[in-house]
Amino acid sequence: MTTGTTTPYRSRRRPGRAGFPQLLRAEWTKFRTVRGWVLAMTAAAVVIVSFGLIFATGSHSSCGNGTVEVACPTPPTGPGGELVDDRFYFVHQSLTGDGGITVRLTSMTGIITYPPPNHDKIVSGLVPWAKAGVIVKDGTRQGSAYAAMMVTADHGVRMQYDYTHDTAGRPGRVSAAAPRWLRLNRSGDTLTGYESADGTQWTQVGTTHLPRLPATVQIGLFVASPNDLTVEQSALGGSVGQARYTQATAVFDHVGLRGTTPGGQWSRDEIGAHGQTDWERYHRPSGVRESGGGYTVTGDGDIAPRTDGSPIERTLIGMLAGLIVMIVVAVMFMTAEYRRGLIHTTLIASPRRGRMLAAKAVVIGLVSFVAGVAATAITVPSGTRILRRGGEFPFPVSSLTELRVIVGTAALLAVAAVLALALGALFRRSVAAIITAIAVIVVPYVLAFASVLPDDVTRWLLRLTPAAGFAIQQSVPAYKQVIGNYAPSAGYYPLAPWAGFAVLCAYAALALGLAAHRLRRRGS
């Protein structure tokens, strides 16, 4: 026997450290040394950028002025930078310094042109957000700052200011039997709205500070009536929105002004005057009639944020193709190990399997994030600029929101890649994992976007599936005070941006947990 005499081998090298950082580095080396994966990730980023820029370059809007094609007028933006509608009939006087206005509303009626089901006649009626009341506004320019107290058709008394802000007061419709008194006071830059049923008992509805208001403002009566929007579900799913002209007429009396020049003359303006409809031409134009101390004001339009248009995330049209490529790479990054039996080498080098999986997830997540953020940081700002140059008006958003869209989309790609990797570890087969990943992440989104299913179904899909994560891209909120087609296909998600993203993260965490559990049971 030789055993007794042999000196066991002892390496003279210092063993290296083999902790989590080393594991991360090993997985990164694994990733970067397969040229196909690196190229595919690069291609995914290039696809996102090029699709986005091609889409933006190809989008053109022009407006006709008679037979001449002219650049479209720039839509007004509100004090917050958002695109707004600012069209209404305004009866006003100048007010310098502090003051206020008090009115009584006794009637509110209107017409709706050609509503469903038959679209064949003009009927009397009001759309839910038809509004009439008193307003203090920074001049007559569209998009200027304002505060208003109003009665609406179906949403009772409201105080609204600067387009996006809305406070509810007493519910109920106005009529001769149930009149509404409204009062709006200005004191410095503070505006306070009150309502009353009888002109003696007043209730404060809301108050706000509007420091942008100049010393001299316009104060007076207004009426607006937004288009009547109906969204019809088509037989094949999806929805078609239709907007119809409407008009509202309100009767004001007991008009009391405070702080204006005594005996001042009323000015009349159709703010944002636009092409006249036949109804206005032949039946009743917007305007005001005075009779016996009362005023009957007729108007159309709306004072509200715009909800139809292109959000900036439209420029990320190539993101879906990029996402699919990233899913494939992420799955392969895992399943290639099983396919070749390389997983054994990996597990011998790092016997703590959960850590190995974590290292892989971190690497694929970071790689996808970096590729994604490189693509979105180019696509969103450049694409938006190109869209503007082409006469499109994507919704302006705050830089924080733009950053959220850029970084959030990259994070969405990263977490989707991690989910795909985890599915790869669960299934251990490329095809099954890729199909599953696409089925749970991409397909619900495509169904929602293509609107082939009823909107309610897609809303649930976008709540419950990993595709909820796409909500992180929504840059424009839905406003409850504006009836819009807030369908998923129009870019409105049922969950708030970070809530939707959290759903995707939860799925990724769940899949990773299951994969780690399966990996820890020996026999791989």
């Binding site: 080396t29 016997p351 703590r352």
Partner: protein, 309 residues
């Protein structure tokens, strides 16, 4: 900490198949230990259990006195070559070693050292997918050597090698053992281990059939065997079979006889007047020793040339 592999009482079932049935042995430093047995005897499963890839139902396996999973830098404790084909084909050989090195906190310089050691320097920047089987075996050995471990485990490293490769690998393993490393080499062919193994663990049906030095094994297999040289082979076989011996023809004029002492053989042949030129005590080969030990353990055996007629 001793440079050894210790396996004791390993049992494992895959469904109704018993893969390991109380496998126990120890691999000692300073020599090559052959791990031999027919396909399905449990060699690979044992190695996988030692490396923590499979969990045994019972028993324990230690590397340097510790379970594999508890090792912080596993590759500096044990190097393993399980499947030389387990490579990402589009990755170069050097990059394959590089990620392994990075996982252990080792540098690219160590990678180049082991590449040099196994003679792959000129091919290190080629894709591993284009490697011949022999080159892959060398690459697998390079990977096993990365952490400069005192224990090496190689599963069928001779598979698919040409003669040059076999000669190289034998010399290489012998030199590794001479440095004091414990080297466990599995094979289903005893002949491959003939000149390098100092110790043999023979397994069959998940159990150790023999665990002995090569010298002891050959001595045991030689016992009671007699080599008979005769020109009348078939007559001799008939005569000896009648006398109760087991006879195997090993050559045109050579028979190996067991179960009958030399003097009885001479008497039996004399009684029937069968001519013979030589009767000597048999010096068994390792191969024969192995065949003896595993005859019962082979699960799907075809009738071999040694079977008595």
């Amino acid at each position: 900490m001793e440079a050894t592999i210790e396996v004791s009482g390993l049992r494992k079932r895959f469904g109704s198949t018993v893969a390991l049935d109380g496998m126990s042995f120890t691999v000692r430093p300073g020599q090559v230990t052959g791990f031999v047995g027919p396909n399905g005897a449990g060699k690979s499963t044992t190695m996988r259990v030692v490396l923590g890839l499979d969990a045994a139902d019972e028993g324990r396996a230690l590397v340097g006195g510790r379970p594999f999973w508890s090792l912080r830098n596993p590759l500096s404790h044990v190097g393993a070559l399980l499947d030389a084909a387990a490579l990402q084909p589009s990755r170069t050989a050097r990059n394959h070693l590089l990620w392994l090195a990075h996982s252990q906190g080792l540098t690219a310089r160590r990678v180049d050292e082991v590449i040099e050691q196994v003679g792959l320097r000129t091919a290190k920047r080629r894709r591993a997918g284009g490697y011949s089987l022999g080159m892959r075996q060398r690459l697998g050995i390079a990977a096993a050597l990365l952490g400069d471990p005192p224990v090496l485990m190689l599963d069928e490293p001779f598979n698919g090698l040409d003669l040059d490769g076999i000669v190289w690998i034998r010399g290489f393993l012998r030199s590794l053992a001479t440095e004091g490393r414990a080297v466990l080499v599995s094979s289903h062919l005893m002949s491959e281990l003939q000149d390098i193994a100092g110790h043999i663990v023979v397994v069959g049906r998940g159990r150790v059939l023999a665990d002995a030095s090569v010298a002891d094994l050959i001595a045991a297999a030689s016992r009671d065997r007699v080599t008979l040289r005769t020109t009348a082979r078939s007559e001799a076989m008939t005569a000896l079979a009648h006398a109760g011996a087991t006879v195997a023809a090993t050559d045109r004029d050579t028979l190996t006889v067991s179960g009958l002492a030399a003097e009885h053989i001479v008497a039996a042949l004399g009684a029937r007047a069968v001519p013979f030129s030589e009767v000597t005590a048999h010096r068994a080969t390792l191969e024969e020793a192995y065949m003896d030990l595993t005859r019962d353990a082979v699960q799907f055996a075809a009738p071999g040339p040694e079977a008595a007629r």
